[in-house]
Symmetry: none
């Protein structure tokens, strides 16, 4: 049951050629995953598609999982890109605004490479769930917790950890699934709007005035 191999790039590519090779391999891996699914994701196939020998692949990745890990690392790096800026910007904003910004940022993230995101989240077995999503989630959790603590007085939920857990889970999954099942609402902003409302009223105990909703417009 225990996992066998660690999983990190075997060596820091020090030369440009090495870096180029690594890139070419990771790109091929992503292309195969997106185009043909996890079943077609074999090391030999990746090497072939990348135009390098299987030996070269193993020069840079000690095993299959390491390659997958690197691919995930890059993807999450993309996802998190801009989040620091967002956090900084919202430093002193009221809770509702922070939540809105966070939700919208999350939505943006999910529009980066939805196909890859889907495969990584749904088709790739165990490793994905455990190592990748866990690490990503952890970082998110920390940030969200800090933000909540800074606004503790506005929050009615007694157990802050629980609040953080519920909010992060909710935002992540609702948006994630919406990529494939509610892409229209995702793009229109309707989903972000409602989710934000839900989170804010959950945290503050006060309803957030509906913003773009038909009902609101009618009043």
């Amino acid at each position: 049951m225990a996992k066998k191999k660690p999983a990190s790039p075997r060596k820091m590519p020090e030369q440009d050629r090495s870096r180029a090779t690594v890139d070419v391999i990771v790109d091929a891996a992503a292309r195969i995953l997106v185009k043909d699914g996890y079943d077609a994701f074999t090391t030999n196939r990746v090497a072939e598609k990348a135009g390098v020998s299987i030996g070269s692949l193993y020069q840079y990745f000690p095993n299959k999982d390491a390659l997958l890990s690197e691919l995930m690392r890059r993807h999450t790096t993309d996802l998190e890109k801009g989040i620091e800026a967002m956090v900084a910007r919202a430093a002193d904003a009221p809770l509702a605004e922070v939540i809105r910004a966070a939700v919208e940022h999350n939505v943006q993230s999910h529009l980066i490479d939805p196909a890859l995101h889907r495969v990584l989240s749904e088709e790739v077995p165990r490793l994905g769930k455990l190592d990748w999503q866990a690490a990503f989630a952890e970082r998110m959790t920390h940030r969200v917790r800090a933000a909540f603590e800074a606004r503790r007085s506005e929050i009615v939920v007694p157990d802050l950890d629980l609040a953080v857990y519920i909010v992060t889970r909710t935002v992540e999954t609702v948006i994630h699934n919406a990529v494939t099942q509610r892409s229209h609402d995702l793009k229109s902003g309707a989903l972000a709007e409602e989710v934000t409302r839900m989170i804010v009223s959950f945290l503050t105990g006060k309803p957030l005035a509906a913003k773009r909703s038909v009902r609101a417009a009618a009043e």
Copy 2:
């Protein structure tokens, strides 16, 4: 990307002996999945663990997926057990109460065989995601939609479909993940409480008076 095989029991067991064999196989399958994960879930291993020959396994299940399907079918049947009664009972109850009942029922469901539930949801590839969860989710969606429509006037969310989507996703995932990550809050009822609050205030636009929370008690 489409799968080829159908996946239903090969033959209806006609004798008691057959039925017992089928059970013993499905049980072994569940045990292996829970104990050793999907990677260890091989037909030969299942047969061995079940104490039957590999031939017997294939007598009743035309292929591996069929066995997995049956396992899932049994599990979801367990999950849905009692839901009809719950629905009937809550027929005329106010929205908040219906939500609370539904959430609590969902929590109960996830306490039935959490380990199996986790493997089935997270480790099992494709088939699981698509066929099983989809069908289960669909049934849930229908029920929830009906309940919402019956109380349309209380609900402030303009797009009812979107509301259904958000609510079902949220309840399902938050609780599902809590099984492994927040089992204490799941058992104590704290999670159900907060999630219910969140859903209700989201739907009605009015905060639900906090019930068992420390803060509420203090006021």
Copy 3:
């Protein structure tokens, strides 16, 4: 390399019910072979198609080869039906006429159940070639040899055994293959005509006047 099992019906069916069961099994076997080919010819499938249990099949046939053998025996019996009469009738006829009669009889035989004949000859492995065709061929060879010996003086081929061999091989294969590849010529009689001519002139050293040929008609 050696063959494992003998292959003959396990017991003489003494009761009508037994005979009926045997028939039903053999028929199912033939149907499967013709319809789905040798690959689909499995004992379980035969039993199922025959509407009897696999156990019953093994009651009457000790193994798969025995069933195949019986099927072949019946088929060759059909093939040879009428040959005795033909031989008797041609007892005192001149060589050319005997040949013609034999060829035409062979053609008739091959029109009895051509599909079954084809599968039996082409798809069924080893056993068929060795046991069945060998025995059939042997009986044929004997008859033909007797006929040739009775007309030794008309035959110019020095080695009578060789002549018998060539003639039987030729007639059998040319006609057999014609079933699938020259069915028109087989039915029209053109093939029989030419083959007869070929054999007769080979044996007697004298050309047989062409009979129905266009060329002959034109002269």
Copy 4:
């Protein structure tokens, strides 16, 4: 009933080592077929006998049939070796001589690797019959037809296609079977002699003077 798999070598061996491996595999395949028959012809057994891993076998042959195909291709290539020269040499010769040359060439072909030839023709199912023999036969048919057309005036058979069919079938099968059943006559030339006589008199309608026969010598 149609077969699914294509069947050609998976990759062109680029290094000498590869070529050697392919050869060693094909040789082992031939040896097993000849020595133990088609039933013993399993991919694992071939790999073992060849002294390579099963993986190596599949590196060069995508499936079992591909290996069989390559084996057949090599065998027929051997069979056809020298036929072009023969054809060229006999370009302007009289019909009788062409036939004699062709028959004798066919005899020679069948003495190349008779045991392999027998297994390939008789034991190997479907694929063998259809793909291999068919292609071989087709090439033969074309050549024979061309030769006949060039000498149309000498031939009395009205339907040339039928003549070609009868002649090719006869020569092929009579000789083929003689490998195992009449090897003496095959080597002595007696069979070739008689078959030639038969064909020539069939085509021309005139008896060919017996050549080496005892009877002829006595007159």
